[in-house]
């Protein structure tokens, strides 16, 4: 429907003024922009995912079934591997922890004591089923969200990683 609005199908009239032609262009532009605005508004409502640390999940009282990104440190000694690539580990921000279950291959830089971001669904308070665990390019890189979540709980040691510097003032 909007596609048709995009093609000015009116037959070329000899006497069409510059103003009328401009109106046709503006109408077409309006139609496409309207379509885009609609798509964006719809997608932003349905397909964005919030990022939380384990403590925030408790504080915000999120209900099971919520889709989110969970970030924090992989608790040392918490990684358990089961059959069929099933793995579970605890993500902690130093105050609260959440147990993550995941089926699949973990990224190369997944290590105990290191930062991790998992995307998936909250099953119950403190239990999280991930469908992706994010890999990072660089072992000194700490995802900024994780750094911020740790900082909030007072477990941040500046200088621990190069990249964990506070966000650029530009973003404040």
């Amino acid at each position: 429907m909007t596609i048709q609005a995009g093609i000015p199908t009116t037959p070329p009239r000899k006497g069409m003024t510059r103003k009328q032609r401009r109106l046709v262009v503006i109408a077409a532009a309006g139609a496409v922009l309207g379509l885009a605005a609609g798509l964006v508004a719809y997608a932003l409502r349905d397909s964005i995912v919030f990022f939380y640390g384990p403590t925030e999940i408790v504080e915000k009282n999120l209900s099971p079934g919520t889709r989110l990104r969970l970030g924090g440190l992989v608790e040392a000694g918490s990684v358990e591997r089961g059959p069929n690539q099933r793995v579970s580990f605890a993500v902690t921000d130093g105050k609260t922890k959440a147990v993550v279950s995941y089926t699949g291959l973990l990224p190369d830089l997944f290590r105990e004591g290191q930062g991790v971001v998992a995307e998936g669904v909250l099953e119950a308070p403190g239990r999280f089923r991930a469908d992706s665990v994010l890999a990072k390019h660089d072992e000194t890189y700490m995802p900024r969200e994780v750094a911020d979540a740790l900082k909030k709980q007072g477990h941040w040691q500046p200088g621990e990683t190069k990249a964990g510097a506070p966000a650029a003032p530009a973003s404040k």
């Binding site: 199908t9 070329p12 496409v32 922009l33 379509l35 997608a43 995912v49 069929n84 890999a135 660089d138």
Partner: protein
């Protein structure tokens, strides 16, 4: 020694760039040709100095001079020479130096180009380009100096990030930067036109080759980056809608719109104001991309170590150049004269629709990329906008554009015949529909969108060649007449056909991704795993030692539908210097598809996790991009861009309504 020379040369280049910015404009204002002529000389000197600086840094890497902080942090004596050299731009400081080198290279090319530009336009362009050089050279010198010494010097370097020790990295950033930075020239031309208050077909013809050049390299750079991520990261994905990927996609979309709108301007003297705005926006998006990558404000797999001071500096550059040029635009654009008229159904209108969709699609990517940042600033909530968002916004906007493409490209200038154009496209459309129906008939129960996407791709490829085909074969009686007609067509007509066919090929490759399959299993030697058409049998696991890594190499026998392919090797490496593991996927090309094997963790009892992908037709994604780039390069060699200015009028008269 080298680094001191390099540092000095870079500082000197900054001084020359300041001269390049101020003197030519002053010369134009005072009507002094001698002062205006300083521009080209300064641009060439600036390039030579930055090239010297870059050469010096490269020498320090080649000699493994670990007393240089940058070398110590990103190189290692056991690293193979090729990776010592590519490490020059495998880090923040060095890559900014490469950025600056390409920037001043473009300035020097404009200064050297034989095409005779009007004096004022050349002076203004070089001055605008010079101001960008000033900004980026100061940025490099003040916040990201690659020439800093380290006292005391360490005996050994820290090695380059292993993921970057790859030939893909050797090519990806330079290609991408030539694309990104190439748009600085179109920006400089736009600013010069605004300062002069005059814009015409001469301007369009002068700008078009630079736009095509930048676009061609950007296309290659993005494709190379995508292929590199595909084989190096071991996930088998080819596009992640990562902020940094989006940062390169946005200038590409705007640049694609720009190469189409400059055609309208060149041929028909219309869309002037819009083209100027688009030229400014395209480079602004390149700058935004640099900001996103360098500041670390958005979490991305590409982030180098971020530094707030750098982010602030680049934000300053961003505001100065985008704000400044848009203010100039608002002030001067109303002075530009209106161009030619065209009917609602015409080639011009088709290209307006092209621009409309591309610009809108670009805007949705922009929103998806920056929305998390804005939301965090406003509310403190952290969100991520992933593939679902882009699939729901970007894709629906591109599909109508692609459907209209084969019709639009056959419309005549000024006033077209929609019915005739639709009739010309109907054979191509028929081929697409037949392909879709045939696939539905043979492949049962598969994803619905894949056959539709492939039909669209076939429609695009057939439609792209239909027009040139008609012009070659349509009126020619014999094969030799057709051949001479084919040779007689302007190269840009072939370039257009290839560019559009490339889009079609990529669409087919992307649609076929839906048929890909993945299987994960724990394998011991002798055991097999099946995914799609392929069965992989683990034959042996061998430990090996490379120059700067240890690895476990797993060899797989690959059988596809009873026929055996050559074996595949997948590796799990540990780079010694950083103790960092990487996965090297084993890939075997089978026709246009690939079988892709990557390794996970061993379970400790002799079995190892294996991921096996069947990726049908996946190569078409990158082949399509390659074909697009070849199309761009072919258009670039079109004779009208090679002719000197005095013959311009004759040339355009000889090519009435040449297709783009």
């Amino acid at each position: 020694m080298f680094v001191e020379i390099g540092h000095f040369a870079l500082a000197l280049a900054l001084g020359v760039a300041v001269v390049q910015t101020i003197v030519p404009l002053w010369g134009v204002a005072r009507n002094d040709p001698a002062l205006a002529a300083v521009g080209p000389a300064a641009a060439i000197a600036c390039f030579l100095l930055v090239a010297l600086a870059f050469g010096c840094l490269t020498m320090s890497y080649a000699l493994s001079d670990f007393s240089v902080e940058n070398v110590a942090a990103n190189s290692h004596s056991t690293q193979p020479l090729i990776y010592k050299l590519t490490a020059v731009w495998g880090n923040h400081e060095g890559s900014m130096l490469l950025w600056s080198l390409i920037l001043v290279l473009f300035g020097a090319l404009v200064a050297l180009s034989r095409r005779s530009l009007p004096v004022k336009l050349r002076a203004g362009t070089l001055a605008a380009q010079g101001s960008i050089s000033v900004a980026f050279l100061s940025f490099t010198l003040l916040t990201s100096n690659p020439f800093r010494r380290l006292v005391p010097a360490p005996g050994e370097g820290q090695d380059l990030n292993p993921i970057l020790q790859d030939l893909g990295l050797a090519i990806h950033p330079p290609l991408l930067y030539v694309g990104y930075v190439g748009f600085s020239i179109t920006y400089a031309f736009a600013v010069a036109a605004l300062i002069e208050g005059k814009i015409d077909a001469v301007w369009a013809r002068a700008v078009r080759p630079w736009t095509l050049l930048a676009w061609t390299f950007l296309t290659l750079g993005i494709a190379m980056g995508s292929y590199w991520a595909y084989y190096e990261l071991g996930w088998g994905g080819w596009w992640f809608w990562d902020p940094v990927e989006n940062a390169s996609l946005m200038p590409w979309l705007a640049g694609t719109a720009l190469i189409h709108s400059t055609v309208v301007m060149e041929k028909r003297d219309a869309l002037k104001v819009w083209t100027i705005l688009l030229a400014i926006l395209t480079f602004s998006l390149s700058l935004l991309g640099t900001f996103i990558v360098r500041s670390g404000v958005l979490t991305s797999v590409h982030s180098f170590a971020s530094d707030p001071q750098r982010g602030l500096f680049i934000l300053g550059i961003l505001i100065a150049f985008i704000g400044g040029s848009l203010a100039l635009f608002a002030w001067r654009a109303p002075l530009l004269k209106q161009g030619g008229l065209f009917a609602p159904v015409s080639r011009e209108s088709a290209l307006v629709i092209n621009n409309l969709f591309l610009a809108t699609a670009c805007a949705t990517v922009f929103i998806g990329t920056l929305y998390p940042l804005v939301l965090e600033m406003l509310t403190g909530d952290k969100i991520s906008v992933g593939p679902p968002f882009f699939n729901a916004t970007f894709v629906p906007l591109l599909v109508p554009l692609l459907l209209l493409l084969p019709i639009g490209q056959t419309l005549a200038w000024k006033r077209g015949d929609l019915l005739g154009a639709a009739q010309r496209a109907q054979v191509a459309f028929g081929l697409g529909v037949i392909t879709t129906l045939a696939i539905f008939a043979f492949v049962r129960g598969g994803p619905v969108l894949a056959p539709l996407g492939i039909g669209l791709g076939v429609f695009l490829v057939a439609g792209a060649f239909w027009e040139v085909g008609e012009r070659v074969v349509g009126r020619a009686g014999s094969a030799s007449a057709a051949w001479s007609r084919a040779k007689g067509l302007p190269r840009s007509a072939w370039g257009t056909a290839l560019g559009h066919a490339g889009v079609g090929l990529s669409v087919i490759g992307i649609a076929a991704v839906a048929w890909g399959t993945e299987a994960i299993g724990m394998l011991r030697v002798g055991e097999s795993l099946t995914s799609g058409r392929y069965t992989a049998t683990l034959e042996a696991v061998t430990p090996r030692i490379g120059p700067n890594y240890r690895e476990e190499a797993a060899r797989f026998r690959i059988v596809a539908n009873g026929a055996e392919l050559k074996p595949v090797e997948a590796m799990k490496r540990v780079y010694t210097a950083r103790a960092m593991p990487t996965t090297e996927a084993g890939i075997r090309t089978d026709g246009l598809g690939q079988v892709y094997v990557s390794l996970g963790e061993p379970d400790g009892s002799g079995a190892i996790a294996v991921r096996l992908h069947d990726k049908p037709l996946i190569l078409l994604i990158w082949i399509g991009a390659l074909v697009m780039a070849v199309g761009g390069a072919l258009s670039l060699t079109d004779r009208r861009f090679r002719l000197a200015a005095p013959r311009r009028a004759a040339a355009s008269a000889a090519l009435p309504q040449a297709a783009e």
